[in-house]
């Protein structure tokens, strides 16, 4: 699992690649704890290259979502596909967390067509 965090103009971007599971999630959780302490109001999570997620990985993202929301912020997850999309659909996270199931490419197409 690889991840990258960057901050720009009030938006934190988090990119996660590879496998987010019980083995790899502790490393990400530590960074998410730091991120939530000093978080800008919006966190964009790009999972376009996330190949696999398990319930531990979902738990970390849901925890991030809840903590940012409690501070009045917003988390948007983009690029879900294949196995991660199947898990998010089953757990109805695409319904609860708005815009969660829009692939990054589709989201960008939509915003372009609206521009």
């Amino acid at each position: 699992m690889k991840f990258q965090i960057s901050k720009k103009e009030g938006v934190t971007s988090l990119t996660i690649e590879g496998q987010l599971d019980a083995l790899t999630v502790p490393e990400l959780r530590a960074e998410l704890d730091k991120l939530v302490d000093h978080t800008p109001p919006q966190v964009d999570v790009d999972v376009t290259n996330l190949r696999l997620i398990d319930s531990s990985g979902v738990g970390a993202l849901v925890s991030l979502f809840k903590r940012v929301r409690a501070q009045g912020g917003k988390v948007e997850i983009r690029g879900l596909r294949d196995q991660p999309l199947a898990i998010f659909k089953l757990l109805r996270l695409d319904r609860v967390m708005g815009g969660i199931s829009r692939p990054a490419a589709e989201a960008s197409k939509t915003s372009k067509s609206r521009a």
Binding site: Q19, D21, A22, L23, L52, D54, S55, S56, V58, G59, A60, V62, S63, F65, K66, D82, Q83, L85, A86, I87, L90, L91, R92, L93, V96
Partner: protein
């Protein structure tokens, strides 16, 4: 003999692994490869959904053994047996750790956005599950590929 013919046979794959999270990826790679034996390529959307669901369920089963049955022990063994037939997969996972009762695990309330307690729910949602506690404990996960020509009525049209 073409690859399609070879993949239409039944097969059994057996692997012994340590019950540690570092071995989870090995188990899932074997199960992922076995899913390709269930139906010949090219694989359509039904197979991709089948594959995602099988990988998800077996991954959670493996986590459960490591975290709950062996509770952090690093010397527990997992015996994984994967049986494939045309249109169907069966995964038997044996462990020698602490047993559990699937009926005693409460279903998660999804609307409350739970952060844990989702593993068994994912397993049971994606595959048929049977569990026999003992020495060893035996968890069996099975799944049928929807619309496979050997297991269901053929689709009206092929992919366009």
């Amino acid at each position: 003999m073409g690859p399609g013919v070879a993949r239409e046979r039944s097969s059994t794959i057996g692997i012994k692994l340590l019950g540690i999270l570092e071995h989870r990826d090995v188990a899932l790679r074997a199960v992922s490869a076995a899913c390709k034996l269930v139906a010949p390529a090219p694989h359509g959307s039904a197979w991709h959904e089948f594959h995602a669901e099988v990988i998800s369920a077996v991954g959670e089963a493996f986590n459960n053994v490591v975290i709950h049955a062996y509770q952090g022990r690093s010397d527990g063994m997992i015996d994984l047996r994967i049986r494939t037939e045309p249109g169907r997969i069966r995964v038997d996972m044996r462990d020698w750790g602490t047993s559990f009762d699937p009926k005693s695990v409460p279903s998660p309330t999804l609307d409350t956005l739970p952060e844990n307690g989702l593993g068994l729910f994912i397993m049971q949602s994606f595959m048929d599950l049977a569990y026999r506690p003992g020495r060893p404990n035996l968890l069996t996960l099975t799944k049928q590929l929807p619309r496979h020509p050997r297991t269901a009525a053929p689709p009206a049209e092929g992919p366009t």
